[in-house]
Amino acid sequence: METEQKRFDSGDLPALRRILCEQGLLSRPDGSASWIQGDTSVLVGIYGPTEVKVSKEIYDKATFEVLLKPKIGLPGVYERSREQMIKKTCEAVVLGTLHPRSSITIVIQVVTDAGSLLSSCLNATCMGLVDAGLPMNSLFCGVTCALDADGNITLDPAMKQEKEARAVLTFAIDSAEKKILMSNTKGSCSVEELQQCIAASQRAADTIFQFYRDSAHRKYSKW
């Protein structure tokens, strides 16, 4: 089941770290995925569409719930805000109107955080949604860029690079039009730098989508 992608070194694109992904590894959830990006590792379980609490029911679409569990301790305000971002990204992509009055719960467990955590969570969520077989209008991926003091862009930074960076930007990009689904920034940067980061992320997104395709292809050709 496991698929692996070697380090990408394509042209002028700074390298992404090694990606490893395994889908459907958990038996209880309706969809699951483990995503390893460099040393960062997250595990996602997806439940749904199932029954929804009456208080949370929405009459014309599915109710999404995202739970982000940190490696240690209880989730706090920080986790809650990341959950909101992932939730709203999924809402835009998954065709929730096909499952009215039902709930889709996404549980993300951080296994190790070694930088680019939010983008790893997004990638893992997307693979989990695919594994759960939920209808989506496009795929999405998360890309993190770090800007150092000289304005150089590092894609998919490790923890140390993130700490030293002047700014860290994370985007979620959709596979249909390569547009921005979600954006989150840490530190301050100029407008030009933002645009450069977006362009770099869009290029990196191609590699990740290729990886998605390869891993799905390999998973189903084994049968």
Partner: protein
């Protein structure tokens, strides 16, 4: 102190800088002589404004000259939460009250935002219940929430006045408006003071808050604590408070009238529109 996972965490412990003011400087700050000389029956100038929040069904803001600022909003009536489930339901509506202080409302250290005021919330509820025609709202609940933005003394009394006005603004059927006054008794004995300021309230040996339905002349709520001395003294305090409430009543009425006039001149079609909206929503 248990960690609050729903708020941005701060340091584990912090102290108010007021604790570190050298005692010599503190004496000059609050001259007690000045307080003693005030007329015990004097009311603080009160400012009330009705209907200032856009999202609430009814709202009111009350400000006292001593610095107390209270905002109150009313939501509902809506279907009572819980409690329902098959068996007939309650014949009378329920009043759910919340009394909160903003973390920055007090003079000293910042109060923890999680701290609720169950006692004062209950006092609010008990004092408002006699004023509302709850029998007209079966199986429904009305939510009243009061927020103290700044506590300059007599906060509960101000909240009661604001709540009464907000209920009236929301169009809730009432027997009467609610007027309320606070009193306190200085530690030296002496006379009860009407509508104390924050410094007086802090020093007081006994406190009393009285809520009155002024035109019916019925006491709706009474909350007292502390060493008040002889029973006669409490009776005297009550008389003082009732007199104070009666004097407040015209002020509150005026503010309601002002708001009604404002609404009538600004948007005559608003009434019609508002009447239309609930009719359309009850069907769903």
């Amino acid at each position: 102190m248990p960690l609050d996972h729903r708020r941005v965490p701060g340091p584990e412990e912090s102290q108010s800088p007021l604790l570190f003011v050298p005692s010599s400087a503190q004496d000059g700050e609050a001259p007690p002589a000045q307080e003693a000389s005030r007329d015990p029956t004097a009311l603080q100038p009160l400012f009330a404004r009705v209907g200032l929040l856009s999202q609430a069904k009814g709202s009111a803001y009350v400000e006292l000259d001593g610095g107390t600022k209270v905002l109150c909003a009313v939501a509902g009536p809506r279907e009572a939460a819980g409690g329902g489930g098959g068996g007939g339901g309650e014949p009378r509506g329920r009043l759910v009250c919340e009394f909160r202080r903003a973390p920055f409302s007090g003079r000293g250290a910042r109060s923890r935002p999680g701290e609720r005021e169950p006692e004062l919330s209950l006092a609010l509820q008990e004092a408002l219940e006699p004023a509302v025609r709850l029998a007209r709202y079966p199986r429904a609940q009305l939510e009243v929430s009061a927020l103290v933005l700044q506590d300059g003394g007599s906060a509960l009394a101000a909240a009661l006045c604001a709540a009464g006005l907000a209920l009236a603004d929301a169009g809730v059927e009432l027997y009467d408006l609610v007027a309320a006054c606070a009193l306190c008794r200085p530690p030296s004995g002496g006379e009860w003071l009407l509508q104390p300021r924050e410094a007086e309230e802090r020093a007081a040996a006994a406190r009393l808050t009285v809520a009155l339905l002024p035109s019916l002349n019925q006491v709706a709520g009474l909350l007292g604590s502390g060493q008040g001395g002889a029973p006669d003294s409490w009776a005297q305090a009550l008389r003082l408070a009732l007199d104070g409430c009666q004097r407040l009543y015209p002020l509150l009425r005026q503010s309601l009238l002002r708001a009604a006039k404002r609404a009538a001149t600004a948007e005559p079609s608003e009434e019609e529109d508002a009447a239309e909206a609930p009719a359309a929503t009850t069907g769903t």
